[in-house]
């Protein structure tokens, strides 16, 4: 089944790296969106929900944890899988963002294999 993806990260460089790493992992999406902050992400999700959202945590204005809480308030995104992609490695932060509704976590720096491992369960 065709899948859609959104990458939310304040760094344009990081969004490109994530895109390239996903291509290298062999995963294919029929639609990919990008957002440079939480507000943009929510606007785009309101217009068209996605199957998988990759979300940074350390972002100015709206943190990734807040984005997760807001996305979970959108009924149209109840099926969206949210994977955090962050340098944040503390168990406390991970536990709380998972409790808020995230589905998984990929640490930066990452490899194509990591994306393959974490995303493939949601690709069918």
């Amino acid at each position: 089944m065709a899948k859609s993806l959104m990458i939310v990260d304040d760094s344009a460089t990081m969004r490109k790296i994530i895109m390239r790493t996903i291509r290298m992992s062999g995963l294919e999406f029929d639609r990919t969106e990008e957002a440079g902050n939480g507000v943009e992400a929510l606007e785009k999700l309101n217009a068209a929900p996605v199957d998988i959202m990759l979300c940074d945590i350390n972002m100015p204005e709206m943190s990734g944890t807040e984005v997760v809480r807001k996305v979970r308030e959108l009924s149209s995104c109840s099926e969206t899988k949210i994977i955090m992609v962050s340098t944040e490695s503390s168990q406390d932060v991970m536990d709380s963002v998972m409790a808020d509704g995230a589905n998984g976590f990929i640490a930066k720096p990452f490899t194509p294999e990591k994306f393959q491992e974490k995303l493939s369960p949601y690709m069918n």
């Binding site: 460089t13 490109k16 790296i17 350390n58 944040e88 990452f110």
Partner: protein
Amino acid sequence: MIDEICFSAALLEGAKEVFETMIFMDLEEPSEPDEQIEGDSFLGSITFTNSIEGCLAIRCSVPCAKNIAANMLGIDTPEEVNEEEVCDALGEVTNMVMGSVKSRIQTETGELLVSIPTVIHGQNLASSLGNRMSKVFVKVDAGDEEIIEFSFLYREGDK
């Protein structure tokens, strides 16, 4: 208080991990330890607080910063990378090296709260946070006769 050797190893290992996996650059011990960064440079820095507080900084020459950004962006011509792209890329490198170092020292320092990175461009740049700071400094060779400096300034924090 954690000793400096522990921080210096964590800084070097953390930097190597980020550069190898995300920037496709191998960092080596500098062949000439006295070599300095000439002319304008870029400095990326990020602050942290909790049991210890301070800042981690990365400094390199303009051509080296452009190489880093070009590698991250998958661009073959580093000279075409603009200043905004360099700042964005270097900020993300700083963020990742901090994350990588943090995960290596976490058992000793406990949780560290990290800021958003900032990047500046100019001459004779150095990070300073006033008195009573311990400083760990690591210099590496990034190929093409380029060196990169990593520094970690810290003191005991409030917690």
